[in-house]
Subunit: 422 residues, 2 copies
Amino acid sequence: MIIAEILATGDEIRSGTLIDSNSAHIAQQLELAGVEVSRHHCVGDDMALLVSVLREIAERADIAVVTGGLGPTSDDLTAEAAALAAEVPLHQSSEALELVEAFFRNFHKPITPSNLKQSYFPEGASCIVNPTGSAPGFMISLKKCLFFFLPGVPSEMRRMLSDTVLPAIIQKIGKQRMHHRVVTLNTFGLTESMTGETLKDFSSFFPNIQLGFRAKFPEIQVKFYLHGEDEHQVTSMAQQAEAWVTDKLGDHLFSSDGENMEVVVGRLLSRNKATVALAESCTGGQIAAWLTDVPGSSDYFLFSGVVYANQAKMDVLGVPEDVLVRYGAVHEETVKHMASGVRRITGATYGLATSGIAGPGGGTDDKPVGTICIGLATPDAVYAYRFQYRFKSRNMNKQIFAMKALDILRRELMGVLKDAPL
Amino acid sequence: MIIAEILATGDEIRSGTLIDSNSAHIAQQLELAGVEVSRHHCVGDDMALLVSVLREIAERADIAVVTGGLGPTSDDLTAEAAALAAEVPLHQSSEALELVEAFFRNFHKPITPSNLKQSYFPEGASCIVNPTGSAPGFMISLKKCLFFFLPGVPSEMRRMLSDTVLPAIIQKIGKQRMHHRVVTLNTFGLTESMTGETLKDFSSFFPNIQLGFRAKFPEIQVKFYLHGEDEHQVTSMAQQAEAWVTDKLGDHLFSSDGENMEVVVGRLLSRNKATVALAESCTGGQIAAWLTDVPGSSDYFLFSGVVYANQAKMDVLGVPEDVLVRYGAVHEETVKHMASGVRRITGATYGLATSGIAGPGGGTDDKPVGTICIGLATPDAVYAYRFQYRFKSRNMNKQIFAMKALDILRRELMGVLKDAPL
């Protein structure tokens, strides 16, 4: 039985200024690679404590992943602590020096003396390439335990974990490996408890599979985990369970491979050779920001008019003044005009419009905070919907409004949009 | 010096299915109460390991807070583990039994035998009332360490921490209480290592203050922590250090109370009774989405035209076709026209425009990925800037482009914008 432990370092995590999300990611990834993590630790930027925890771990574990403290500044102590724990000197690694120098050369930035510090590792350590940041990592054995030292920046850590650490671990553990599968299904439109009710018979059909739910607002992710010694059997069981869950969730399931809503909508637009233009009032550019996060989105995303002011709704989108006067900014009629207007001025296949009350102020008895009207103009028709959410947070409302609008466009593109409450 | 440690228990946190946010909250609250947490631990639902970690902590710490494992199911092992570590029997606490029974009476739910398990504590423990859940907590001394055992449900844990645990800790430590200050300064425009270089003499002026840096892309946060027994002295030292750092960082410092860029820019716009309208090409609505996250932003944010297509730049903003033909979409002249155009059509005080290449595609030798042109039209002048970033990630480029544009507006609003490279 392989024992693995994780150590997060740094005063920000120790003091609670920052929540440690790295350790959870590492534990999940190690489990997928067939290694169960038994303990997590966290200590601050304190040399004596760092050294003593590293020595403790070396007594017990076979594998350890340590994050943080590899930066250029004076509070970055990890390399020195590892050298003290291993009772070897720190020395400049020529490989690490090359990597640090190459990083600054590529970014056309001057290298500072404190950056050079990042090339000092304990003697005997091997370098772990960091493709996206200035701090290389390193690996070194202390007693029987193989330690991997990675930066604390989550994006850099994740990349180095998958590129270098996991392959090295799989090689080290060899045949002791278990086969794991994690299936993640992204849903939108049901609450977490409604999702749970929908899938309540799961465990009677699949007693050996662990089912979990995760609210990744405004989505709900359905996850299940399974493991076993026979790879083929694990794969087949995962497929059966996925098919069962997919059937139960129906239209609320929008992706089964971790893709987010904007990627799914973008692919549907591309596939249909269609374009979209937006008129965003309450969503304030959030839909445009999401859509344009996707590489290649300029092929189908034409324009968003973030029309906070009524004057802009009239001037830019051509919403008639009497519609705004008669119905107000938050109304089905208004969003129909916004959607048609932005479709007309841009020549897009689809015009999608939002107007609502994100809060915290601006609510009335008639249109409380959380009210959202969404309009969709297609080549054939113009649809409008009104929904009422109960969130108090401006940011949560903006996000669920934006996601709901994209979900309506997704349903239209899939041919399952109904001209009635969704 | 009081030593405090935190232990999170449970397979969900150990395996990474759940990110542990409890420990960060507890560390922050203890620090505010004057106790610095030195280590965090996490182990799963494993009796032998739980007992051994509790014993380890009892050897070192004066105070320990443990979360999780107090529920009614078979994987809830904490009370038994505490009894084993303390070498006392488990027994039914009449106080806990009353609390459990009262909970189910109040919620009109039938009590099950497994719920009764929640009234069994180690002999000698005292009960901690849980006003919002079924599982009471308990406190007990192991060696010189006072342990507090709380449920893992964050809302229940937080309530019990503030109602019972913190008062008990403050009573226990009495005059040993330390006073802490954390100062956070948000900067933009320098890399982490450049920030470190700028402040490299900090420790010679303030040898007792711990300085830290955190890359919260695209910002760099400068933080320092200090503590001492004399509250007045701690406050005065924090002010001196803040003044020193503020002076060194100059214009790169944009907030000293944790406020983010869009809040700072919004307040400056309000204070100047000014409004802003945006023309966003490569930033794709990101600036609008940030600005409109701030409650009350409708007072100063009028409009953003997310003009991906050149046709939209002409039709909506009135950028002359020959400018686009002669200079291309990414050029100082083009963003000047975009900024002036959006200022003109909306009547805003400021027009702010972005056009650049976020990648991953679309770069040329002349205008590689990471090129950003920013235009600012003010009542008196029109400025344009070009910057070159080296990020490969589309999302990172979008964020740093958007932040740079807001930073230019911030500098203009503060009267420190220079008509030259920043």
